[in-house]
C-alpha cells in the first residue's frame, strides 16, 4: 500500500510540473498558433496524464485528460485552427485537473464533480464546432445551438501518407469560397517575412558564414513551415520544410552556403510568392507540384552531407522523446503520428528509414530542439528526484561540517607536525568544495517560478483589457530554493503592478506613439554574488507629480515638503506603508498593500529593491537578492560581554568616534542619542541599552571612551549601532531560534562561531523597530494644514526645531549650533548682570532668547528643573541660548515668509506641518551681546 502511495505521490509531483509547463505552452500557442512542437508537447502531457490517471483509476482525471488530448490531437495534426475559445477551454481543463490533483494530495480518491460541460465543450471544439465561450475558470452550460463554423473541418481525415503529394492536400481550405481573415493575415505576414528573407539572402552572399543571418533565415522558414501546415497548405509546407532542412544543416555547420544554394533559395522564394498569390486570390494553392524545387533542395541538403548519421529530421515529432513512449503513442494513434513521421522521412530526403530515425532520438544531443527555449527535458537517466527535506538536512550537515572544520583549523596552526597540518588542509579544501556542491543542489533556475508568469500575465492582461508581450531573459539563472520561494510573491506582485498600472490600454499606447501591445521584460542574471532580477515595462512610468499629490492627500507630508523632494525621494514615497496612486482599486492591484510589503519581504531575505522610472517611457524595478540564505557573511561585534553577528547585507560602514574636547561626539536629544556623520544627523541605537545588557538597568549606557558604531540600514533608514567592540567579518551558518525564543525581538537567528560559542544574529530591521529609531522617522505627524503647493523647489536646510515659550515653534540653522546641553537650573550663576554657566571649564554666557522675540513668553523649565541650552559658536566664542523643549532636527526646503515687524524673527516657514519662526540670531545677539554680533547669518 505504501509503495502505491509513493507512486501516486510521484504521479502528482510530475503532473504538477507538467501542468505548469502546460500553462506556459498554451500562452505561447496563442502567439504562434501553428507551433507544432508546442502542440505536440501539450498533447503528450495530457496523454501521459490521461494514461497515468487511467492506471490509478482516477476517472475524472482520465476523462478530462482525454478531452483535452483529443482537441490537441486535432490541432496538432493541423485539422483545426487554434482560437482563443480553445485556449480558454484547454486552460479551464488544466485548472480543473490541477484542482483534482491538489485534492488527491490529501485523499486517496477523487472528489465527485461534474465535468460534463467542460468535456462537452472540448469535444465540440474538437469537432470544429464553436463552443460557448468559457470564462477562464468556470464552466458555463453549453449553448444549445452552436452556429456552424465558416470552414468545415472533415470529421475524420484519413491518414494521408504525406508522401502522396496531391491527395486531399489543401484539406478544408478548398471548400472555402472566400479567403478568411486568418488566412489573409498569414499571407500578409509571410510576404513580409519573405521580403526579409530575401534581404538576408542578399547579405549572406557577402558573408556566407554569418551564423546570425543563417539562423534568421532558418527561423523564417520554420515559421512558414509551421503556419502552412497549420492552414493545411501542404505544398507550401513541403517546400518550406525542404528549405528548412537545408538551412538546418547550414546552421549546424554541416554544410556551407554555396552560390547554387542561394540561387535555389531565391527560386524557392519565387515559388512561395506564387503560391501565396494563388492563396490570396482563390484561397487555395496552385495545382502545380514543384517537385523539381523540392528535389533540388533535398539534393543540396543530402548529397553533400558531411556526416550521414546526423538526424536530418526536424519536424512533425518534436524533441527528444523517449522511445518507448513514442512507440506506445504510435500504437495508440497510428494515423496522425505515422503520417507525420513518414512525412518527415520523405521530406527530409535522405534515405533514412524509420528505424534509424528512431535511433537518432536516443542520444539526447542528436535531436536537440531547434530553438533554445526550454522544452521538456528528458533527463530521466541522468537525474534523480530528491526530497527537498533531504537536501535541507544535507545542507545543515554541511553547515555543521564547516563549523567543525573552523574549530579544527586553529589547532592545526599551532601544530608542528606536517602530516597533521596537511591532513587538516585537505579536510579544509574538501569541506569548502562540498559546501559549494551541496549549495548547488539547492539551486534552482528562476524559471521554476517564472513558468507561472506567462499565464498570469495573459490572464491579467485580459482582465485589464490590455495587450502585453512578456519576454523572459536569463531563465537559467539559479538561486537557492528558499530564496526562490521568498521572491515569488514579491515578483508576482510587481508583475501585477506593471500590467495593471504600468502598461497602458492599447488605445492610450497608440495615442502615445507606442505599439498597442506593451512589453514586459523579466531579466535575471548573476552579478557579484547576487542575483539581479529586473522587471521592465514600457508603460506610462510613474507620474511623480501624482505621487507627490497623493502623499499630500494622504497626509504624509505637506505640499511644500512634497514639492521639495527630489525625484529620487519622491519615488521612495511609493514604499511607504499604505501608499497607492491607483485611482480605483481593481481586483488586480491598487489596494495599497503593496510596495512596502514587497520591500520589507525582500529586505528580510537580505535583498534590495530599486525603482527607476521615466514618465511616459516605462518603469524598471531591480531586485537584488543573495544567492543563498543558509551561509551568510556577517560582521561580529561584541557588547556587554556577548558577541553578535550583523548580516553584511545591512551593513553600510563602521565608525569610530574618538573622544575629543567635546566628548566623543554622541549627543542626546531628549534621551535619543545621535551623532553627526558628514554633516548629517545619524540616529543611534545603543545596543547595550536596547538589549538591556548593561549591569545597571536604567543606565543610558553612553560609552565614555571612544565609541564603535556600526552604521546599518533598515527599511531604507540609516542608523548607527553603538557596540563595545567590532571584530572581524566571518561566514556564518544561520540557525533558526527554537520555539521558545520565537517571540523575542531583534534576533534573526543564531550561529555557532569558530570557537564553538553561540552568537545571536541581529535582526537589524527588528532592532530598528524595537528601539523606535525607525518609528520615530516614520511617524511624522500628518499634516493638518497644507500650504499651497510650492512650484519652485527651495534650497534645503537643516534646522534645529525647538519650542520657545508656550507652544510656539522656533528654529535655527543647525550649522550654527555647536552642541545641545541641559543644565540644572541651579547651576546658572550671574556675573555682571549676565547669566552664565560653567561649561567645559569655561564660562558660557547665556541668552534668554524669548526675551528678544516679540510677544513670546519665557519658556518653562523642564519638570526636573533643568533648562535646555543651544550652544552657539561664533568668532571663537560660545554663547548658550536658553530655549524651551527641543523638538527635532529636520532637513526641509525652507520657504521663508517674511514677518515684518516681529522683533527677533527673520520670518516664518512651515516646518513639519507647523508654522515655525526662524530666529534672527544676529539681531538677537546684537541686542544681547553686542560683542558677538555679526555672526550666524542665515544663508
Amino acid at each position: 500500500m505504501e509503495a502505491l502511495d509513493e507512486i501516486v505521490k510521484e504521479f502528482l509531483v510530475e503532473s504538477y510540473e507538467n501542468l505548469d509547463r502546460l500553462d506556459q505552452d498554451f500562452v505561447r500557442l496563442e502567439k504562434s498558433p501553428a507551433d507544432r512542437e508546442t502542440l505536440g508537447n501539450l498533447f503528450r502531457v495530457l496523454h501521459t496524464l490521461k494514461s497515468s490517471a487511467g492506471m490509478f483509476g482516477f476517472q475524472r482525471l482520465e476523462k478530462l485528460g482525454h478531452a483535452g488530448e483529443h482537441l490537441l490531437g486535432r490541432l496538432r495534426d493541423g485539422r483545426l485552427a487554434l482560437n482563443s475559445a480553445m485556449v480558454t477551454a484547454l486552460l479551464a481543463d488544466a485548472d480543473t485537473i490541477r484542482g483534482i490533483l491538489r485534492q488527491l494530495e490529501t485523499s486517496p480518491t477523487e472528489t465527485a464533480g461534474d465535468d460534463r460541460t467542460l468535456i462537452e465543450t472540448l469535444h465540440l471544439l474538437a469537432d470544429g464546432k464553436p463552443a460557448p465561450a468559457l470564462p477562464a475558470r468556470s464552466v458555463p452550460p453549453a449553448s444549445p445551438n452552436p452556429p456552424p463554423l465558416p470552414s468545415p473541418v472533415p470529421k475524420s481525415l484519413p491518414a494521408a501518407p504525406a508522401s502522396s503529394t496531391a491527395a486531399g492536400a489543401p484539406a478544408a481550405r478548398g471548400d472555402a469560397p472566400e479567403v478568411d481573415e486568418l488566412t489573409r493575415e498569414f499571407v500578409l505576414e509571410t510576404q513580409e517575412n519573405l521580403a526579409q528573407l530575401v534581404r538576408h539572402l542578399g547579405k549572406l552572399e557577402d558573408a556566407p558564414g554569418d551564423h546570425a543571418l543563417i539562423s534568421a533565415v532558418f527561423r523564417t522558414l520554420h515559421t512558414l513551415r509551421g503556419n502552412s501546415s497549420f492552414f493545411g497548405f501542404t505544398k507550401l509546407e513541403r517546400i518550406a520544410r525542404a528549405a528548412e532542412d537545408l538551412l538546418e544543416r547550414l546552421r549546424s555547420g554541416a554544410l556551407t552556403l554555396t552560390l547554387e544554394m542561394t540561387e535555389v533559395l531565391h527560386d524557392m522564394v519565387e515559388v512561395v510568392r506564387e503560391l501565396l498569390a494563388a492563396i490570396q486570390s482563390t484561397g487555395r494553392e496552385t495545382p502545380h507540384e514543384y517537385r523539381d524545387l523540392i528535389a533540388c533542395l533535398a539534393q543540396l541538403t543530402g548529397v553533400t552531407a558531411g556526416s550521414p548519421s546526423r538526424a536530418p529530421n526536424k519536424a512533425a515529432w518534436p524533441g527528444p522523446a523517449a522511445v518507448p513512449n513514442l512507440q506506445s503513442q504510435l500504437q495508440e494513434f497510428p494515423s496522425p503520428t505515422a503520417a507525420g513521421l513518414s512525412a518527415t522521412a520523405t521530406a527530409a530526403a535522405p534515405p533514412a528509414d524509420f528505424q534509424s530515425q528512431l535511433g537518432d532520438f536516443q542520444p539526447p544531443a542528436a535531436a536537440a530542439p531547434a530553438n533554445s527555449e526550454p522544452r521538456a527535458p528528458d533527463l530521466a537517466e541522468s537525474t534523480v528526484r530528491v526530497d527537498v527535506g533531504l537536501l535541507d538536512s544535507l545542507m545543515t550537515l554541511v553547515g555543521e561540517l564547516v563549523l567543525a572544520r573552523n574549530r579544527l583549523l586553529p589547532f592545526a596552526a599551532d601544530h608542528a607536525e606536517t602530516a597533521y597540518v596537511a591532513a587538516t588542509q585537505r579536510l579544509d579544501t574538501i569541506t569548502t568544495e562540498l559546501q559549494e556542491r551541496v549549495m548547488k543542489t539547492r539551486m534552482q533556475p528562476i524559471s521554476a517560478i517564472w513558468s507561472k508568469f506567462p499565464r498570469l500575465v495573459r490572464d491579467l492582461a485580459h482582465a485589464c483589457g490590455k495587450q502585453v508581450n512578456l519576454v523572459l531573459e536569463g531563465q537559467g539563472t539559479e538561486l537557492d530554493r528558499t530564496l526562490l520561494e521568498a521572491v515569488k510573491d514579491p515578483l508576482t506582485h510587481l508583475i501585477r503592478n506593471s500590467v495593471d498600472h504600468g502598461i497602458e490600454p492599447p488605445a492610450a499606447r497608440v495615442a502615445a506613439g507606442k505599439p498597442p501591445a506593451g512589453r514586459l521584460l523579466l531579466r535575471a542574471c548573476h552579478e557579484g554574488g547576487l542575483v539581479i532580477i529586473e522587471i521592465t515595462d514600457d508603460g506610462r512610468g510613474i507620474d511623480l507629480a501624482r505621487v507627490r499629490a497623493k502623499a499630500v492627500e494622504r497626509g504624509l507630508m505637506s505640499a511644500a515638503q512634497a514639492a521639495g523632494l527630489n525625484d529620487r525621494e519622491a519615488m521612495d514615497l511609493i514604499f511607504l506603508p499604505g501608499f497607492s496612486t491607483a485611482e480605483k482599486t481593481t481586483h488586480v492591484s491598487g489596494r495599497g498593500v503593496g510596495m512596502d510589503v514587497v520591500k520589507t519581504n525582500l529586505e528580510n531575505i537580505g535583498g534590495t529593491l530599486d525603482l527607476r522610472s521615466r514618465d511616459g517611457a516605462g518603469t524598471t524595478l531591480r531586485l537584488k537578492v543573495p544567492l543563498t540564505l543558509a551561509i551568510i557573511p556577517a560582521l561580529l561585534a561584541s557588547c556587554g560581554g556577548e558577541r553578535f553577528a550583523i548580516p553584511q547585507t545591512s551593513l553600510l560602514e563602521l565608525l569610530r568616534l574618538e573622544p575629543g574636547p567635546d566628548g566623543n561626539g554622541i549627543e542626546l536629544i531628549y534621551g535619543a542619542p545621535v551623532c553627526r556623520l558628514r554633516g548629517q544627523l545619524l540616529p543611534l541605537v545603543l545596543l547595550s541599552r536596547e538589549l538591556r545588557l548593561a549591569a545597571e538597568p536604567g543606565e543610558p549606557g553612553l560609552p565614555s571612551g571612544p565609541a564603535s558604531i556600526v552604521v546599518v540600514q533598515a527599511e531604507g533608514h540609516r542608523f548607527g549601532l553603538v557596540v563595545d567592540q567590532i571584530h572581524d567579518p566571518e561566514e556564518i551558518v544561520v540557525k533558526p531560534l527554537g520555539r521558545l525564543l520565537q517571540g523575542v525581538p531583534c534576533f534573526a537567528g543564531a550561529t555557532i562561531l569558530g570557537d564553538g560559542r553561540v552568537a545571536l544574529i541581529l535582526d537589524v530591521v527588528g532592532l530598528a523597530l524595537h528601539s523606535g529609531v525607525v518609528e520615530r522617522i516614520r511617524e511624522r505627524p500628518p499634516a493638518e494644514e497644507t500650504a499651497p503647493a510650492g512650484t519652485t523647489t527651495e534650497p534645503e536646510q537643516t534646522l534645529l526645531v525647538f519650542e520657545l515659550g508656550g507652544a510656539e515653534r522656533m528654529a535655527v540653522p543647525l550649522d550654527v549650533v555647536a552642541r545641545l546641553e541641559q543644565f540644572p537650573r541651579a547651576s546658572i550663576e550671574r556675573t555682571g548682570g549676565q547669566e552664565v554657566v560653567q561649561y567645559q571649564s569655561r564660562i558660557l554666557p547665556l541668552v534668554r532668547v524669548a526675551a528678544f522675540v516679540a510677544g513670546c513668553p519665557a519658556p518653562e523649565e523642564n519638570p526636573d528643573g533643568s533648562v535646555d541650552v543651544v550652544v552657539y559658536a561664533a568668532h571663537g566664542r560660545s554663547i548658550g541660548l536658553l530655549v524651551g523643549r527641543i523638538r527635532d532636527i529636520v532637513r526641509v526646503p525652507l520657504k521663508l515668509q517674511p514677518s515684518p515687524g516681529r522683533r527677533g524673527l527673520l520670518g516664518s516657514a512651515i516646518v513639519q506641518h507647523h508654522v515655525t519662526g526662524l530666529l534672527d540670531l544676529p539681531g538677537i545677539l546684537q541686542e544681547a551681546q553686542p560683542s558677538l554680533a555679526g555672526a550666524g547669518e542665515i544663508s
Binding site: 553547515g399 555543521e400 563549523l403 567543525a404 510573491d489 514579491p490 508576482t492 506582485h493 506603508p577 498593500v593 503593496g594 512596502d596 510589503v597 514587497v598 520589507t600 519581504n601 528580510n604 556577548e642 538589549l691 538591556r692 545588557l693 540557525k735 533558526p736 531560534l737 527554537g738 520555539r739 521558545l740 525564543l741 517571540g743 523575542v744 525581538p745 531583534c746 534576533f747 543564531a750 555557532i752 564553538g756 560559542r757 553561540v758 552568537a759 545571536l760 530591521v765 527588528g766 523597530l769 524595537h770 518609528e775
Partner: protein, 157 residues
C-alpha cells in the same frame, strides 16, 4: 505485573526530581551559555550541543525555586521535544531508577503554584521523595507577556 520504566533522576535546590528516561536525549556537563537578551527570564540561554543549537531553560526559575549560588556550574538534562532539543539546568545528575507508574502518588498539598502543573506525581524512595516531572509541560512556557513584535506582517501579496 506492572511494567516499569527507567527514570532519570537529578537534584535541584535540595529536591530530587525524575524524568522518564525516554524523554531525555542526553546528560551533559556544564557548558558556556550564550545569554539571549529580551528573552523570557526562564530561558537561561543558548548552547552548542555538537553543532546543534539548544535552548537552555533555567529549571529553578521554571519551578519557582530560589536561585542557586552564583558560582554554581549546573549540568544539563537535554530533553527531546517535538520542537528539537531543549536543555534543563540542574544541580546534579543522579542515577537511573526503574519505576512503575503504580508507585506514583498525586503531588502533596504542600506543592503549589506552577510546580503543580509540572509534577506528574511523587514517588516514595528510601530516604527521599522523588518528584516526577512532566516533560511536555516543562517545555511549554507560558506565553511571553511582551507585546508581539511591531513588525509589519509580511502579508501574502
Amino acid at each position: 505485573m506492572d511494567r516499569t520504566h527507567p527514570y532519570t533522576t537529578f537534584r535541584l535546590a535540595g529536591l530530587l526530581f525524575g524524568l522518564r528516561a525516554s524523554a531525555v536525549l542526553e546528560l551533559t556537563r556544564h557548558r558556556e551559555l550564550t545569554r539571549v537578551p529580551l528573552a523570557p527570564p526562564t530561558v537561561a540561554g543558548l548552547m552548542n550541543l555538537r553543532g546543534r543549537l539548544v535552548t537552555v531553560l533555567d529549571l529553578r526559575r521554571r519551578l519557582d525555586l530560589p536561585p542557586g549560588p552564583a558560582d554554581a556550574r549546573p549540568m544539563h538534562v537535554v530533553l527531546n521535544t517535538p520542537d528539537g532539543p531543549l536543555s534543563l539546568l540542574v544541580d546534579e545528575v543522579g542515577e537511573v531508577t526503574e519505576l512503575s507508574e503504580a508507585d506514583f502518588e498525586p503531588p502533596p498539598e504542600s506543592v503549589r503554584g506552577v510546580a503543580r502543573e509540572l509534577i506528574l506525581g511523587v514517588c516514595q524512595l528510601p530516604g527521599s521523595l522523588l518528584l516526577i516531572l512532566n516533560p511536555a509541560t516543562v517545555a511549554n512556557l507560558p506565553p511571553p507577556p511582551a507585546a508581539p513584535r511591531p513588525h509589519p506582517t509580511p502579508a501574502r501579496l
